[in-house]
Amino acid sequence: MPYFPDNDMRISRRLIALCALALGACSHDGTASGAKHPTTLVFTQPTDVDNLVPALSTSEVGAQVDAMLFEKLAEINDSMNVIGDAGARPSLADSWTWAPDSLSIAFHLDPKAHWSDGVPVRAPDVIYSFRVNKSKIVGSSLIPLLADVDSVTARDSVTPVIWFRARSLEQFFNAATQVRVLPAHLMASTADSALQSTPYGRSPVGSGPYKFVRWVSGSSIELVADSTFHRGRPKIDRLIWSISTNPDAALLRLLSGEANYLDKLRKQDVDQIVKHPELKVVSYPSMLAFYVLFNERGRKGKGQNPIFGDREVRRALSMAVDRRGAVTTVYDAKTPVLLGPYTSNLATFDPNMIQLPYSPDSAAKLLASRGWVLGKDSVRRKGDSSLEFSMLVPGSSSQRQQMAVMLQDMFKRVGARMTIEHVDFPTQQARKTAHDYDAAFDGMSLDPTPSGIRQEWSSAAAKAEGQSNTGHYMNPAFDAVVDSAVATMDPKAAIAMYRRSYAIIANDAPAIWLYEAAALAGMSVNVHPAAMRGDMWWVNLAQWTISDDAPKSGSVAVAASAH
């Protein structure tokens, strides 16, 4: 058995110190030398991916990786025009032709397109991919969008044809620019029910601009540029998604150069990043809408909510809120106020939409006229019930919390008492689905398609169990207008009808529309992003570049001060 005399201990202590120094020194050399060749973009993300098969992946990081590994037949432009194919550009297909009756579209695949194992992409791959995405067993999130797709056939080996049951303005968008094409030669032999657990989902072979290298579960996913990609080699050599569960640890990775891209910046992230001259903050369009959702149904879904079942009360509470003021205080004057269930980058957006005015006086009058009279404790009462409710506020965003406090104050001025329930995100989702809430501070990432409004606010969406219209807003007039907007083939008429539906829903006030969130990303100054689209900022990653001039922070600082 060893014994450790004090003498020996002193030596080892010195040894430990030496080791620490050596280890510390290594880190410096490592990051400085490795950053030059090849160029690498490292994203820091909070969660791991569940699966890399596009039809199965449910995580946002999974969507980002898939967008680089797999291609769609066509892609919409950065203008996000989703009507017909006017805003579409070639991707896997280099061209397409519509049947005269618009009920089928024949796509011509780029003959140079190939899977990363060398096998060319052919029509059977497209047929297989549509079948998988329509399969109830697989459960792809695209199922509702593909409802109008009847079948896919092959005219010849490079010409798949999509057959539609019905025509609509968005039929091209829903089919051609949604489904990512999968390699039938590798996947078709697996039963649909077993797809989730195939090894393929963890080491995929795709046809996109990047090739899969490795996935170290719980740590990182790495892709490398495919120099034989049929539309030209992407600019950045390597893409790495690295996982860091703690947001501050993620920030520190960016600050220390262990990563050069951090998405969804918090306020304190921005404060830190602007202090570092080798980093920059980039703002990009987003389709995130935030609002306070009223539960019009009673608690646990029974009957009508005694407060929010009344449209006039909802309107009164909306009028009690100074939205511009609150948004300016919490964010800034540039952050747009949300006008309805749509954001300003949709083609159907109407900047002149009539809004409920901010007027606490009218709000008070309106409440009084509905029988809610001011009690002694300055809370309104109607019979036995008082104007009290709670609002769920999810997540760890301090701005959202702060906004909630401001709302609380504004409601108080018109005689409504709101308590704030701070919950985590899964709890909020579960309670919304169970109708177990009064009001909820809610956020939604919108589709670029205006028809998405139907999934969130229609009566059909309210009636189906587990559906997304958890506030239970129902207005037949709204449903009718939206339905005809979706069905029409005349783009101009469609826009007009969508705008009419916006007016109806804004007037009914199923929610207090608050703001469109600004999306901010932090990155190294030598990362040059291509156009970042509101719904998917990562869609043009293959065109991003990294200039190899400024890997060291010191030199950048000098360059920045010279400007």
């Binding site: 501050d248 920030l251 520190l252 404060d271 830190q272 760890s396 301090s398 702060q402 406090v405 701070h422």
Partner: protein, 311 residues
Amino acid sequence: MLVLRWLSAAALIVVLSVLLWRYAHPGASASRGRRAAARYAEHPSAVIALFALLAMYVLSALAPWLATHDPIALLPQAFVNHPPTRELLFGTDFVGRDVFSRVLYGTRLSLSIALLATIVSIVLGTTYGLIAGFVGGALDTAMIRLLDAFLAIPRIVLLIAISALWAPLSVTSLVLILGLTAWFGTSRLVRAEVLSLKGRDMVAAARALGASDLAIVRRHVLPNVLTPVIVSATLGVAGVIINEATLSFLGIGISDPAPSLGNIIRDGSPFIATAWWVALFPGLALVITAMAYNLAGDGLRDALDPRQVDR
């Protein structure tokens, strides 16, 4: 006004400490309890620990009276993640709540939960150990195997599994679950003590005289078992406090907005580098409490059990 309140709380702590000290230093006549107290007082660290605990309990019991802010109320935007100042002693958290007041209230909740859970675990552990040790035979073997299995599961993993399945937990069920997972060590101790007592003369004598099992347990076994039970309870509180904090830290213990030491640290952990004060202060409160309980437990062991010297 608030300063006055704090001063009177401090005065209360001093008065209570002096009373305790007087009790430990008796005059000529000394009962058994007083002798133990005197032995306890020989350990300066244990005495300091006792005073620290006293201070913790007094301060947290008076939390509503001493708090500088409402622990749930949110301050304006400018005070979000605000560093400590003279007004906001421990700064504010990510939604602008005063950390100092939250720590006061949080200590109160954490201490109460730990105390109640320890009572649950002690009652359970003592009963289990008594039965296993006293009945013996096949039942004892079965019970001890079961105990082995429970001891083989890392405590936190077991707690996570239970809490996650029943989340969200009410305070009552949290107390129960913490108590139900903390008794294994105690019952092991009790069983060992019972086994050694069983071989002693007095138990054999009592049995020969026809005393019932229950009477033997009550008169001979329980009083002797009490010492290790009290010591393990004291040490156990420290463990339970930390376990409760861990569950709250993981988001399956006390749920927001009610403050517990664990969930204040949880609120601070995403901002550990940018707003360190949120996680630092409740953690210090936790460490002080747990350390005080550990030291007090050591002191108690020496005081109550003269056989064991200098451990």
